[in-house]
Structure formats: C-alpha cells, structure tokens
C-alpha cells in the first residue's frame, strides 16, 4: 500500500491556511498530513473602538472604517485569514501597547495561545473519525508553550523532537529548530548544537533510510530551498538585490549522511522548490499565507523503498 502525504508549512497565524491544511487530506486524497512549523502569527492589527459601534483599522496601508458588529466580525475574520491577530482596543490602549513592550509581548502571547487553542478544537472536530493522521511540528517562530497546547489535542500529534510511526512502516523525525536568524527567534541555535539536536532525534528512528522521512523546519544550506534576500543583521534591512543561501549546514550534513527518502522543509517562504540531495528528495513548498493560499506538496511513497511521485500545490 502506498502512502500519500500532504506537507505544508509556515501558515503564520492564517486562519484560512490552517483550515485548508486540515481539509487538505480530502482534497488531495492524502492519508497523512504534516505541518512543518511556524504556526503562529507575526503581527497584531489594532481595531480601534471609536464608540457607538464604529471601528477603524488599517491593513496593507488602507484605512477601513467599520460600522456595527456584523462588519466588525466579517473584517476580524478577514484579518485572521491574512495571518494577523485582530484586537479590538481603544486609542488609549493602543498607545499603551506602543509604549510598553512587555505589555505588547503579553498581548502577542495571549493571542497566539488563544488562536492555537481554537485551531486545535476545530481540527479535533474535523479530523475525528476521518482516519487521517495529522502531525504538527512547531517552527522557530513558535514559542515553546505551543507544544503543550498541541499535545492536548485528541487528533493532532506533536512532531517536535520525536520520531513518529507513519502508515506502512515509515517514520517521521521532526524538529522546528533552525540555525540563527537575524530576529533571535524562540527556536534557533548555532549549527553544532542544531546538528547534535537533529542527530539525536534521527538516532531514535528504527527504520532504514528508505522508510525515513525527516521534517526539519530549516532548509539545507546552499540549495534552491534556502535562497533569501541578504539582510544586514544590525539594521534588519535588505542589502539591495543581493541574495544569499541562509539554510542550515547541519541539516544539509545530516541529510547527506542519513539519506532519508524524503526531507520536508520550510522557513524560507520565497524558496519554493524541490531538489535531490543524493537519494533524498528535499522539498520546501514555500508559503503564501498572507493571500490565504496554502502552498504545499503532495508526496506518494510506494510502501516499499521508492518515492513514486510528488507535486507542489497552491490550494
């Protein structure tokens, strides 16, 4: 029996992308779903309560004035679909968040937790009785307490640091940790430490490389999966048109040594591609979460020792 696996990554708080991911099994005929990290959003959009049922917010530099609860609810959903957290607040509260970084940090934390809790509830309802396996691994942008929320699910399995048995004797070894980024994100570390971490996870696998799938958020260094604009780490600005390989050498070395049948990556949204590293197919489906479009990859494993076919999707 073959295994059809759907992989997506970097939904970054997009409600539409999360729901599409959960619904993707039926759409693509997949029996295993894998989310490769970075579930949580990056930005909060303050919706200013002007009183009298009137609200104002800005999105994509466009000011929007809302009138009434229905318009508010409709736009909150649209904001969530883009991957932002909509928070209704007064002008004074907005100013407090602007001037108090700790308070803003707590707001983010609260929004991320609430959203993941909602997502877990929705996924549990949807996946129950479907016969589908769904593995979710947080990424470098996700705070550590997200893992606990995911673990509370009855249908989702947490990938981070684990080797999970898949159908037909395959195994999935996952980690959302990456090599250092200019943003000092929650799950990143120097290459030697990252290599030791990944090697430690892979060592738990009990299957041959032909049956091993690796889900590592960071893409392998110096491939088509890791090309991003070069950034000045001090000012966090883009250095003109220069691009650079920003993937992980640790990930590349582990892939080259272990040669799993499949290696799933994300992290660099604009490097949507698939490459062969020896016998391994390494894929980064990229991300277009801001559009509410789910970039993904459908992979078919033949149940023996071959990868039958794969295709990148935009659904």
């Amino acid at each position: 029996m073959s295994v059809r696996l759907f992989f997506a990554t970097d939904v970054h708080g997009s409600e539409a992308c999360w729901r599409k991911f959960i619904n993707s099994g039926k759409h693509y005929g997949a029996n295993v779903l894998v989310l490769g990290g970075d579930m949580t959003g990056k930005a909060v959009i303050p919706i200013i309560d002007n009183g009298g049922g009137s609200y104002t917010f800005h999105m994509q530099d466009i000011r929007r004035d809302l009138d009434g609860a229905d318009e508010l609810a409709h736009n909150q959903r649209a904001i969530k679909d883009h991957g932002y957290y909509p928070v209704v607040m007064t002008g004074e509260e907005r100013n407090e968040f602007t001037s108090d970084p700790d308070k803003l940090d707590e707001l983010f934390h609260q929004q991320m937790r609430h959203t993941v809790e909602d997502w877990v509830t929705w996924a549990d309802e949807r996946l129950e009785g479907s016969g589908m396996r769904c593995i979710v691994c947080p990424g470098n942008d996700d705070r550590p307490d997200i893992d606990g929320l995911l673990a509370s699910s009855s249908q989702l399995e947490v990938g981070e640091g684990n080797v999970i048995d898949l159908p037909e004797g395959y195994q999935l070894a996952s980690s959302g940790w990456t090599n250092p980024t200019p943003w000092d994100t929650p799950r990143e570390e120097e290459e030697p430490l990252l290599k030791a971490r990944i090697e430690g996870i892979v060592a738990q696998a009990t299957v041959s490389p032909e049956r091993l799938v690796m889900g590592l958020h960071a893409p392998p260094y110096d491939t088509q999966l890791d090309v991003a604009p070069k950034i000045d780490w001090e000012s966090l600005t883009v250095e003109g048109q220069n691009v650079a390989h920003v993937g992980s050498t640790a990930v590349k070395e582990v892939i080259e040594r272990v040669q799993p049948i499949l290696s799933l990556h994300g992290h660099i949204h604009e490097s949507r591609a698939a490459v062969r590293i020896g016998r391994t197919l390494a894929v980064n489906p990229g991300s277009a979460y801001v559009e509410g479009t789910l970039s993904g990859c459908v992979v078919e494993l033949d149940g023996k020792n071959k990868l039958k076919r794969y295709r990148l999707t935009m659904g």
Binding site: R4, H12, R19, K20, N23, S24, H27, Y28, G29, K42, A43, V44, I45, P46, F57, H58, Q60, D61, I62, R63, R64, D65, A78, H82, Y84, G91, T98, L104, D105, F108, T181, P182, W183, T185, D222, Q224, V227, P229, L236, V238, G240, Q241, N242, V243, H267, E270, A273, A274, V275, A288, E291, G292, T293, R309, Y310, R311, L312, T313, M314, G315
Partner: protein, 543 residues
C-alpha cells in the same frame, strides 16, 4: 468602506519573527517594463505604417497608450491579488480552469516566443550590427547578414545571448538591465540634442554624404523621396479615424508589453501593493512612450515626416517586392541616420552602440518570463518534474532547452522560408489572445475567486453595483477583441496573418493543438495516478 490615508498612529504591531522579502525590487520591475515596451520595437513597428498612409501614427500611439494603461490596471490587480511566479498561467488556471490556463499560457508565453527570436535578432542586426559594419567598411559582412545564412546566424546569436542572460540569474540580469538603460538613455539624450540643434538642410547634407560614402547612393535624400515617397503621409498627426484605428495593432507590437514581467512577480518585492505595480509598469510604459514620441517630433522637424516614412517604404517595398527600384533596398536605421549627422566614424559607432544597448538589455526577456511559466506548469505536474530542474547555480536548464531548441527550428524556417517572415504579427496576436483571457479572468474575479479578491489590496470601488475593476477589465478585453478582429479578419489585407493566410492559420493551429495535446496527456496521466489536474488548480475548501 476603504480609503487611502497615511496613518498617524501605530496601525500594526509586529513581534520578533523571521522577516520576509522577495528577489526583485520595484526599480527592477520598472526597468523590465521600460525595456519590454522597447523603443526599437516602436520604431520597427512604424515600418508597417507605410501600409496605412491614411492613418495618424501619433494619434494611434496615443489611443493605444490609453488602452494599455487599462492593461496595466488589470495586471496590477491580478499581480496584487495573486503574486505568483507563472503569472497568466496561474491566474487563468485558478480562475477558469487548468486547461484554459495551460493552453493560453503555453502558446502565449512559451511556443510563440520561439518566433520572437528571429524578430529580436532582426532588430539587433538592423539597428546596430549592420549600421556599424557599414561605418567601419565591412560591407561584405553586412551584406552576408542579410542573406538567409546571416539571418539564421543572427538568430542563433540571439538564442545564445538570451540563454546567457537567463543563466546569470535574476539578480545578474537586473544589474545588466540597469547599465543598459543608463547608457542607452545617455545615448538617446545625445541623439535628441543632435536632432534638436541640427537644421533640416544640415541633416540632408549629412544624410547625402554618408549615403554616398557607405552605400554609393548619390543625392540619397531626394532619391528616397522619388523612389519610395509616393503616397506616404506628410504628417504624423493627419489621418482618418478608421485608418488611425487600423494602425493600432501595429502599435500593440510596441506598446502591449509593460506587463511582460507579470510571470515574474512572485519574485518582486512588494508585489501585493497594487499602487506600486501601477507605478512600475506605468512608469516603464510612459517612459518609453515619451522618448519615442519625442523622437518622432524631432524626426518631423529635422528629417521631415514624409522622408522618414519614405525610408520605411523603401525597405518594406524591397522586402515585399512592391517597389521595383528602391533607393537602398535595405533598412536605414533611424539611429544610424541620427549618428550620421556628425561626420566622425568613431562617434557614430559609439552613439549607435550606446542606444542599441536598449535592444540587448531587452533580449533576455524573450526567455526569462517564459521559464517561469514552464516552471509553474511543471510544479502543477502538467509538465514533468524534470522540467523544473535547476542547476546548483539556479539555472533552469531544462526550461531553457525547451525555449532554445525549438527557437533554432523556427529560426531556420524564418531564415530559409521567405513566407515565414509574413508571420511576424502572429507573434503579437497569440500573446494578445492570452492577455484577453487574463482580462476576462480579472473581470470575473470578484465573483469567481471571491475570497482572494476580498482579501487583496485591489480597490473595491463600485459603480452602479459593479466593481470598477470589472469595468476596467471589460473595456480592456473589448480593446483586445478589437485587435484580434483586425488581425484575424483583416478586412483590408493589411496585417497578413488573418484567416486568408493559410500558413499563418496552420502555424497557429499547430501551436494551439500542441498545447491541447500536452494538457490532455497530462490530464489522463495524472488522473490515472490518482490526482486530477483540476484538484491542483482548485482552491482547498476553507470551511
């Protein structure tokens, strides 16, 4: 309700998380559009105005510009809503159907570009290489380039250069374009000053001097007017309305392309910003348009409009055989005519070379946009996985082969089969048909892909309950239908590619049939494998 206004307070809180930007900047996008509506295409396109002397070149250029601005609005909207590499293919396959997207984009962005190779080559050879060879006295080489072998060799050179420009990658090509534009613009400025300060009498004297020296033609100015000036228009402003409209398809050959980077916009930074897309494509279009129109004014002042059209007629008469004894019988490049004003060979060569960089900066566009469409179709598995293969340096090697090898075959036909030259306007027609379908896709987008439409930054203003963007797309689509009517029906036998031209119909039929066959084979194969192509193009349900 949405209004554009600069916010004074914090409107977005961002936490520390991995940041994202994309490959090309807005400036690169502008340069790509500028070179795509290339001034040499305009000047080459004016050659065909000799067939409709009753039309006004100036007003045809103005009318076409206005409609192409609508095209920019349509494409800015599509790019902003779905900024994906693959452009037209992705939009049409998502809004209409996988088959529609592939057939239109494969013919419009892939197959027909094979025919553009000899056209690009002809522009480079006639605008730069031959004028320079004549100046340096290499008449044998110049004459050889006009033979079938020479035309084929030039096409091969264009294929090699275009392949190289794609192979050096987006970043390297953007840098080359930047230099090509700066040097080219400097050349244009010098040429503009020369034409401005030179009197008509001085120009005639210079033209006669160089024509005698380089071509052995005595009193060339008068000779051209005598042999080829009869019936030519005397002003670029005068003309009947219908004849002016009939010039529009020729203007499309020049102006229809500010959206040429549409397939690349998945790689352009800030592509979701509707206004920025307008600025970069609009800037590219207007910049090139203004330069060419300024040139036409200067031509009228210094050379005389009738003489300018007579030189065009002299060449076209020789190509199509309707003038028995043309004065030159070969293309006299307006760039060369301008450079000849200064009686110094070195200066002439440098000026022609500088301006011609606009052509060579543009040559890479013939393959670059196409490779993105091929990639997108391979990602969707209409084409095999191997087609999306890139080398370690990022060179899309298979996609390039799929462009280059058939281009060689088409170039052989172009060089050795004289009737093939008459298919030049198929190159515009097939792409225009694809643009029309994208226009229709944008027209129905607010209903067909409602979620994407509503979440986009495209203005949502309505007139009588109909989205303004739908109205814009409908007008643009009507404009494209008008052009297709003229090309295909060709009521006055002007364009040569309509239903009366059997070769043209067979050629285009083969292109569309090939695309349909590929899609059907892919559809059957993928269905047998358990995932229909439609599923890949279709949006996953949210609820």
């Amino acid at each position: 309700m949405a209004t554009n206004a600069a916010p004074a307070e914090q409107t977005l809180f961002v936490r520390k998380a991995s940041g994202l930007v994309k490959g090309w900047s807005t400036g690169d996008g502008f340069r790509y559009s500028f070179l795509s509506t290339n001034m040499f295409l305009g000047i080459w396109g004016f050659l065909y105005a000799v067939f409709i002397p009753g039309g006004s070149v100036f007003w045809a250029a103005v009318i076409t510009l206005l409609f192409v601005i609508l095209e920019i609005v349509v494409y800015s909207g599509l790019i902003s809503a779905m900024p994906r590499a693959g452009g037209d293919y992705v939009w049409q396959s998502r809004i209409f159907h996988s088959s529609v997207g592939f057939v239109m984009a494969a013919t419009g962005w892939w197959f027909i570009l094979w025919l553009w190779i000899p056209i690009y080559a002809a522009l480079g050879v006639n605008s730069f290489i031959i004028p320079v060879l004549r100046i340096v006295g290499a008449d044998g080489a110049a004459d050889w380039l006009l033979t079938s072998n020479g035309v084929f060799a030039a096409s091969l050179a264009a294929i090699i250069l275009a392949t190289y420009l794609v192979a050096i990658g987006m970043k390297g090509y953007a840098r080359f374009q930047k230099w090509a534009i700066w040097i080219g613009l400097a050349g244009c400025a010098v040429a503009g000053i020369l034409l401005l300060v030179t009197s008509k009498a001085s120009f005639i004297s210079a033209f006669n001097r160089e024509s005698l020296e380089l071509y052995g033609v005595k009193d060339a100015y008068s000779a051209v007017l005598a042999s080829s000036g009869e019936g030519m228009s005397t002003s670029m402003f005068s003309g009947t309305l219908w004849d002016t409209f009939k010039l529009i398809p020729f203007m499309c050959f020049w102006l229809l392309w500010p959206n040429w980077g549409a397939t690349l916009y998945g790689e352009v930074r800030g592509a979701k910003d509707f206004r920025k897309n307008i600025y970069q494509m609009g800037g590219g279009l207007l910049g090139g348009w203004l330069i060419v129109i300024a040139f036409l004014f200067l031509v009228t002042k210094t050379m005389g409009w009738k003489f300018f059209m007579a030189t065009a007629n002299d060449y076209m008469g020789a190509v199509y055989g309707y003038i028995e004894a043309p004065t030159f019988g070969s293309y006299i490049s307006p760039t060369a005519m301008t450079a000849w004003i200064v009686n110094n060979s070195a200066f002439q060569v440098v000026l022609i070379a500088a301006i011609s960089l606009m052509v060579f900066g543009w040559w890479g566009t013939v393959f670059l946009s196409s490779t993105r469409v091929i990639f997108a179709a391979a990602f969707d598995r209409i084409l095999p996985e191997s087609v999306a293969k890139v080398t370690s340096r990022g060179v899309p090697v298979t996609a390039l082969v799929l462009m280059a090898v058939p281009s060689v075959i088409v170039s052989i036909f172009y060089a050795y089969q004289p009737s093939f030259v008459q298919l030049t306007y198929d190159a515009t027609l097939v792409i225009a048909a694809m643009f029309l379908v994208s226009g229709l896709a944008f027209m129905i987008m607010p209903w067909k892909t409602k979620a994407i439409w509503e979440s986009s930054a495209v203005p949502k203003l309505k007139i009588l309950g109909i989205p303004l963007m739908t109205i814009v797309a409908a007008i643009y689509s009507a404009f494209m239908v008008f052009n297709l009517y003229l090309w295909l029906y060709d009521p006055t036998n002007t364009y040569g590619v309509g239903y009366k031209n059997k070769n043209s119909m067979i050629f285009m039929g083969i292109l569309y049939a090939a695309a349909i066959v590929i899609w059907i084979v892919a559809w059957a194969t993928r269905k047998r494998q358990g995932m229909a192509l439609e599923a890949i193009a279709k949006e996953i349900p949210v609820e």
